[in-house]
């Protein structure tokens, strides 16, 4: 067990700490001959008719619409999302035109050359009132994007019945590096240097929007300073920049400011869950009903069409319940699109369910851990909502032991959460190895945007091939170098990319053996020229389990804060402990942010009120609780034994921390983030006295 402090780099494990030394190479570091800068002119209104637009590149010229690709893809919607709107706008920050300049300053000044006449309309801001409001998209019948029913409705009388309306409000992903790209066109191939989680999705999306063949688009990933889901699909700005490069036959760079990033990047969460649970007096679940509402924002592109159903399918979590029924709807509002944010639907499901488990504990007077254990499972199950889950009882018993739960509960204000992590294993992942000049180049179909995938990649390849790690060169994904791939999100890369690396290594070794026969050795391998690819698709379910414990205390002014977070995750075989702990530590910070600080707040007329990184609520090291990271090493069935872990902390921390604060203050919390005054222990007018 080791405590990781935020921001430390272990020089011994990683002598090449180039990011900390300022030697990373990001999109904004690229300078190409003749390069121009693109500035995007955006709607100042949440909803308006565009009466006229002139100057720069406008939607009258570029009539393209957006494609739903990558992590955002799936589901269907009749609403199309224009790259540049020439008829009406649906959120503050929506692109309406673009201008080019010799540098960023000139480009921004040229925005004055664009003239847009708007007729403002009353925006639809409250998802609860979206369905009764006028459709925000002309020509559509309602603001309903998707509706799903899972399981079968039922009638039940149970000794314990608890209802609650729970909310996880919208938050901005806020990666350290904002979005950006450079596009360059040589007359036949469009090359795009990208800050991305998925070059292959970009290729598909850009080719689709611009009507190009995929072969004539190459997307090269640069060092990418965080994404958290926001860089897994594509945005209108990318299409405009690519179009501008093709039109002018000169390279074009587009990078955004923090302000633009906050205004016009897909946001996460924004989900309401009306939950009802039925249980007996011993705390055993008898039934679960849920009514979910997802605020997808203006265009259902960032996963808006499938998120409602996806959350609903996970609600039962790691427990057994005989009856369950969930109805889920996704609706439009005049906000920037909803999109995946670290966890993407998993945290919402876990928060809703875990809050209800705590409610059952309160109603029955049974300890919160005990209630959970009583509903945990001893064999693999498929929930009435259709989700497969591994047996959970043994793991949770282990977790409680690791937390020293009984003794912690006696001395601290403690919150607990149990959850299941469903990695985005669908679609598999690719890897490629190339031996040349005594070195091994390594690619995966989806690559690091801050996770340091190079560390496990080198380890796995070195172990498989028997070559030392220092002859291995890790490459970011390049659609020109590897024949196919998916992307990095959904706790998938270590398991799928890792599996593909193992397979590609074995393919490479086989190719070398064919050539070298019995005299094969790692040294001889390095003397030759070999290439191998693999596309890895796991056969077994990879859903895994996790648990968190949090404690809370009061500051001297009476504000409640989270003091400590313990994480106990089944990450399978740990590929690199330091990297795993770093991943989890960052996720704990985001989990705490979500509980207490992070929030995207809009005014009634649709202006974003949290348009700086400070106001958006990103925490500092000073707000970080003590974090202890532990793992249960139950190997997966994959060749390298790994399981997913990237999203575990944003799933498990919010319910555990919320509960710890609830226990400390004796107040019930149903909405995240918890408002500052609700975390203040002192009395306020209109608030019932607390203990």
């Amino acid at each position: 067990m080791k405590i990781v402090s935020v921001g430390f780099v272990d020089e011994e494990q990683d002598p090449d700490v180039r990011f900390v030394r300022g030697a990373g190479r990001y999109v904004d570091d690229i300078k190409l001959e003749g390069m121009q800068h693109l500035y995007v002119v955006r709607s100042p209104y949440a909803r308006a008719r565009v009466l006229s637009v002139s100057g720069g590149i406008t939607g009258n010229e570029l009539k393209a619409t957006m494609e739903s690709v990558g992590e955002d893809a799936g589901g269907r919607s009749t609403v199309s999302f224009p790259v540049l709107s020439a008829s009406y706008v649906s959120y503050v920050g929506q692109p309406v035109a673009a201008v080019l300049g010799g540098d960023k300053y000139e480009a921004a000044d040229k925005a004055d050359e664009v003239d847009v006449q708007y007729e403002p309309l009353k925006p639809v801001m409250d998802p609860e009132r979206s369905l009764e409001s006028e459709p925000i998209h002309p020509g559509t019948e309602s603001n309903l994007v998707a509706a799903a029913e899972l399981g079968r409705d039922f009638d039940l009388k149970a000794p314990v019945e608890v209802e609650e309306t729970l909310r996880m409000e919208r938050i901005a992903p806020n990666p350290m590096e904002t979005k950006g790209m450079v596009a360059s066109y040589d007359g036949s191939v469009l090359t795009v240097y990208a800050s991305t989680q998925s070059p292959f999705s970009w290729r598909e999306g850009l080719a689709g929007s611009l009507g190009l063949k995929e072969e004539s688009v190459r997307v090269v990933q640069m060092d990418t300073g965080g994404g958290f889901g926001s860089k897994g699909g594509i945005y209108p700005e990318y299409v405009v920049a690519a179009y501008a490069a093709m039109k002018t036959k000169r390279p074009v760079k587009w990078t955004e400011s923090r302000y633009e990033n906050l205004l016009a990047t897909n946001m996460g969460r924004g989900v309401r869950g009306r939950m009802k649970v039925y249980a007996d007096r011993k705390g055993k679940l008898k039934g679960l009903k849920a009514d979910l509402l997802v605020d997808v924002g203006a265009y259902p592109l960032g996963g808006g069409a499938w998120t409602a159903k996806w959350i609903a399918s996970q609600l039962v979590g790691p427990y057994a319940v005989p009856k369950a029924y969930a109805a889920a709807k996704a609706v439009l509002t005049n906000k920037v699109n909803m999109g995946p944010y670290r966890g993407a639907g998993r945290p919402e499901a876990a928060f809703f369910m875990e809050r209800m488990m705590d409610r059952i504990a309160d109603e029955t007077g049974i300890d919160a851990a005990e209630v959970r254990l009583r509903n945990a499972t001893t064999r693999e199950t498929t929930s009435p909502l259709g989700m497969e889950a591994p047996p959970s009882k043994r793991f949770f018993t282990e977790a409680l032991r690791a937390f020293r739960y009984s003794s912690r509960k006696k001395k601290d204000k403690v919150g607990l959460s149990f959850f299941m992590l469903i990695p985005a294993a669908y679609g598999g992942e690719s890897a490629k190895l190339a031996v040349e000049g005594g070195r091994v180049k390594v690619w995966m179909g989806g690559s690091s945007h801050g996770q340091r995938h190079d560390v496990f990649a080198k380890k796995l390849v070195s172990e498989e091939l028997g070559v030392p790690q220092d002859v291995i060169d890790f490459q970011h994904t390049d659609t020109g170098a590897i024949s196919g791939g998916v992307g990095s999100w959904g706790s998938r890369t270590a398991i799928l990319g890792g599996g593909a690396l193992v397979e590609a290594s074995r393919n490479l070794k086989a190719a070398a053996k064919k050539n070298l026969g019995k005299k094969y050795s790692p040294a001889l391998l390095l003397e030759g020229d070999y290439e191998a690819e693999a596309f890895f698709k796991p056969k077994d379910m990879l859903n895994t389990l996790g648990a968190n414990l949090a404690t809370a205390r009061l500051t001297k002014e009476g504000n409640a804060v989270v003091e400590e977070v313990l994480s106990f995750y089944d990450a399978g075989k740990v590929l690199n402990r330091f990297m795993l702990e770093s991943q989890v530590t960052g996720g704990v910070a985001q989990g705490i942010g979500e509980v207490m600080y992070e929030h995207a707040v809009y005014s009634e007329d649709g202006q974003l009120l949290t348009a700086s990184i400070a106001d958006a609520g990103v925490i500092h090291a000073t707000e970080m609780p003590k974090s202890v990271v532990m793992t249960a090493a139950h190997r997966s069935t994959l060749p390298h034994g790994a399981k997913g872990v990237g999203e575990s902390p944003t799933i498990g921390v919010p319910p555990a921390a919320t509960r710890a604060l609830e226990v400390l203050l004796g107040r019930r919390f149903t909405t995240l983030p918890i408002e500052p005054e609700k975390l203040w222990a002192h009395d306020l007018p209109g608030r019932e006295r607390t203990r």
């Binding site: 960023k104 300053y105 921004a108 000044d109 400011s257 302000y259 002014e557 009476g558 504000n559 600080y597 929030h599 707040v601 009120l609 949290t610 400070a614 106001d615 609520g617 925490i619 500092h620 000073t622 707000e623 408002e675 500052p676 005054e677 203040w680 002192h682 009395d683 306020l684 007018p685 209109g686």
Partner: protein, 292 residues
Amino acid sequence: MIPPRFEYAAPKSIGEAVGLLKSRGGEAKVLAGGQSMIPLLKLRLAAPALLVDINRIEGLDYIRESMGFLRVGALTRVATLGRSALLERRYGALHDASLTIADPLVRNLGTVGGNISHGDPSNDLPAVLLAAEGELAATGPSGERTFRAEGFFVGTFTTALAQDEILTEVRIPVPPHRSGGVYLKVEQKVADFATAGVAVQVSLGRGSECAKVGIGLTGVGPTALKAKKAEEAMLGKKATDRKAVEEAGELAADASSPASDIRGTEDYKRGLIRLLVARGLERATQRARRGA
């Protein structure tokens, strides 16, 4: 930062700087530490045609006591206040406040003059000046003027300074024996602006009753506020008098007019004022007893 185009001048004297400001009318702005000005420029909320950088002007960076006043030069960095032993000993409220402002990076650049001239109701130093009965000196085209802190903060982002006047010095009367000051601030996250802040300055009489009381409030009105009724109510009372202290808190809360925003609701901010004023009176008195 992608600001609009502007001209830039870095004069070496106040006279020159004032001349530049006057010659360009409302088009010119002073640049001191830049910690409020640059955020405005980068968001293009401000677009001055000329920035007059006053950082090259010598003799505006000092902390000293003379002729009955603590005198702090307008270009003194907030970080310097935090390192001053004199302030720690005798000007507790100013010392405390300087340590709660933003983060070390901002404090290393941000100046005392800029913190006050900006007229931001969320900045921490104005409340300290109001509590301590401070004064301000400024130089304009027709020479020097002095202002009392009370009345200086006219509205949100507006002070009594004319466009072509430069704040040069901040003054606080040297407190009598048995005086103490404190600044208390609740911020949502470290380095954030105050959800609410309170500056308290007391001088004790013979029986440890309050002979003089100053209370300033941060972040709960269109400007920093002076809680006069609360000050008066404490006169002749002791900080150990729970009822008196709570009443002062109540009066200060009544005097505030906070807006509900992302940092909290109006009720919460008033609640904080109530708590912080009461606690501030107690702590300032403790310091006064120790002679701080």
